[in-house]
Symmetry: C2
Subunit: 459 residues, 2 copies
């Protein structure tokens, strides 16, 4: 905690958790339940309007697992919550010592596939649950949404600028990160630009125009400061007046050896207006001036604009991207799938509740490809069976040590691009995409059936 | 920035901004445009399924305004982005020196009403825009959603536990804060408990049950550690088996002088199952054992459960609350409404774009009450006219100094409760509430009409 305001210190990350993780862990310890267990982090359902997930957030997960500690201050607070001295002593020496398998960031994944698999003493695996879910939910949700928007834009650059409507400051940072991973060309978020090396975009808001008596005075003032590659916002009063002023400015800039970068539309009928504006620009030898459009855009509206042959060169996408507005959460879950009950033997475990059944055992995701190397189908199987498909989960942490070189954001972005290219187009359509096949291996099916029968008798 | 991972230092808060705020400010400075301006922060539309806003986030806004500085590191990064030495020098000495008027947190507000009004040199007022919008959007959105959920619960306690699906860590903290302000009784978020003094709730997840061979062994182990007031999760395998095991445990606890707190249902038909369970508990003299329900709840489902006379004592609400899932953003905007053009005279300003027109001039919100002191209607008027209604905006900052005692979270919560009580029931219905009347004063209407005519001629 800080005096500045209630932001989160890195040392307090261990308390970014649901209270029940701590009560469960206190009881595990009290009952001397220290055996190894395996948990899967996965997304239960494929939401409407989605046909794949673009996995993101692993870097923050691994840095958390590597660094999680409980400070004396944290312990003092937990003491007041009534935890035993024994448990508080355990927390004081806490360090995550488990093995972690995961998909690389930028991987394509589907419902029910383990994205992260943790094997650790059950207390350690349990206590990290909430942080992991929070991190993967946000980042995978946004990367997925952003990749759909980039796909809809069909090669035209997309800029993320939803910071003002994103859910707090951490979301602002992570949305910029994941949107860039998913193929956006840049962000408006200055701190994300600094932190992640993402290109920054942005010129002016309506307030700048309105602060001058006349629109053209505002344009002139702005291009005086930024004479090169500036975009002028032309819809404060009316777009046609705005574009005529922008053309005047472009001509003034040409005389000074500069070029206007573009004009921006932020309201109205974007398809119709952009065509009018393109014609006016072309007719005045300003074919080089780009048209930037924004205003409540998402993958559906961009698809429609492209169908209407809107003359738009850049898309700025804010709220709908930054909040994943049509589906602002994923069904991320973290499920116990095996526990070492006796003498080093792991017992597979599953949950039976109505519509919430999970798959037992230590699992691997196998991906099968067609003749051209494109993704054909996935199979969720047991880790011990070695199926011929590519094994997607790789070992990233061993006994609490990071054994994986965290890739740069650019490498993750390239990997995401390559992965998306291998996903056939029919699975990437914006409207009514086909469902990608995710099968269960014979062995996993058999194990699941066996356990269902056994659980039927449980009491 | 930290080595731990890319969390945000308080010193970097100034960079949590859209890039265009900085380019605009650079141009204001370059053009020696240093005059005072007034900006309104408001919510343009009342979204579907909402009939009022519960305003929250002012504390974080004011601490930001009080503390915003640009560090040398920040300046170095901005230099690489091409800003002039003159502007960087300005930022190096930056301090917010404006006046701020705002509603107290916990106030009820409506569309188009200024929630925060800032008068400052235009650069200062502009540069803080993004942070203010981000903060008010998240907190007011969540406080509003949470207050609807609390309203739907009709006096039964609601606990917020959406951390795992909230959008990052800052959202996790702010959701807990605003839910508590809006009337929730507690949170699962341990760090929010520590930071804000919010009561913590939580016992066990399905994984705890599944880690034991038999459900009853898990119950016994947990109540060994926490013999008093524990809630047992009874739906891991099937609820009737679960409740029977819970009854056995309750009886064992009674013999030891303890009492079981409750049982929790997290899936299935909550109305039907809760009634069965209540009967079984009552028939075994366990009327004191409470029933806690969770699982995809929101104000609509809770209303339905109450209509079905579900026997539920506590509601746990996660994802739908923590992401405001049916409307994960508000139309928060920050609009220039006047600028000092000549010799200390402010000129009112408005924007004309289609469907995005704003109201000009320095405004105040006046609330009119009925004979019993309940809210009857609001009127947005000019600050200079003194209408008879209560003036809602109060001065909280003068020349950059905080002149307002930040109330404790408990005081804000009490104020929210009192405010909600004064809002007649017809405006608080969960389904199809009536629209609260928000009028414009005669003077504001006249000014708006005048400017519309003038803007029609602008070029």
């Amino acid at each position: 905690m800080t005096d500045f305001f209630d932001f989160i210190n890195e040392q307090d990350m261990s308390l970014v958790t649901d209270f029940y993780e701590l009560t469960m862990c206190a009881s595990y310890l009290d009952n001397e339940k220290l055996e190894l267990a395996t948990f899967d982090l996965l997304i239960r359902n494929m939401p409407n309007n989605r046909s794949y997930f673009l996995f993101a957030g692993l870097e923050q997960v691994l840095l958390f697992l590597k660094n999680i500690r409980f400070t004396d201050k944290n312990i003092r607070y937990l003491r007041k919550q009534g935890f035993s001295t024994n448990f508080l002593g355990y927390l004081q020496n806490f360090k995550f010592t488990g093995d972690v398998w995961a998909l690389p960031e930028g991987s394509i994944a589907f419902q029910n596939e383990p994205l992260i698999r943790i094997t650790a003493p059950i207390i350690e695996a349990q206590i990290v649950e909430t942080f992991l879910l929070n991190t993967v939910n946000l980042q995978t949700m946004i990367a997925t949404k952003a990749s759909r928007i980039v796909e809809a834009a069909k090669g035209k650059p997309v800029i993320e600028f939803g910071l003002r409507r994103e859910h707090g400051l951490d979301a602002g940072m992570k949305v910029a990160r994941c949107s860039f991973i998913a193929g956006c060309e840049g962000t408006s978020n200055v701190l994300a630009g600094k932190q992640y090396g993402i290109p920054l975009f942005g010129t002016m808001a309506h307030s700048f125009i309105m602060s001058y008596e006349k629109e053209i005075d505002a344009f002139r003032a702005f291009t005086k400061t930024f004479p090169n590659k500036t975009s002028l916002l032309i819809d404060t009063y009316d777009e046609i007046g705005g574009i005529n002023n922008a053309i005047l400015i472009a001509k003034e800039l040409e005389k000074l050896g500069h070029k206007l970068g573009g004009v921006r539309l932020d309201s109205g009928n974007l398809a119709k207006t952009s065509k009018k504006i393109r014609k006016l620009l072309d007719n005045t030898d300003l074919a080089y001036v780009k048209i930037f459009a924004s205003g409540d855009l998402d993958e559906f509206k961009i698809t429609k604009l492209n169908e209407e042959r809107a003359e738009i060169d850049f898309f700025g996408v804010g709220t709908k991207l930054g909040t994943s507005a049509d589906r602002p959460y994923l069904d991320v879950i973290y499920k116990l799938c095996e526990i070492m009950h006796n003498k080093g033997i792991f017992s597979p475990i599953m949950k039976l509740s109505e519509a919430k059944t999970t798959f037992p055992g230590r699992k691997q995701v196998y991906r099968f490809k067609d003749g051209s190397g494109n993704f054909a189908y996935d199979m969720i199987g047991l880790d011990e069976e070695s199926l011929t498909g590519e094994s997607l989960l790789i070992k990233v942490m061993e006994r609490g040590e990071l054994i994986y070189n965290l890739p740069s954001i650019t490498r993750i972005r390239n990997y995401a691009k390559a992965s998306l290219q291998k996903l056939p187009a029919k699975y990437k359509q914006i409207n009514t995409p086909q469902k990608y096949p995710v099968k269960l291996s014979q062995n996993l099916e058999t194990l699941t059936r066996k356990l269902l029968i056994k659980l039927g008798k449980k009491g």
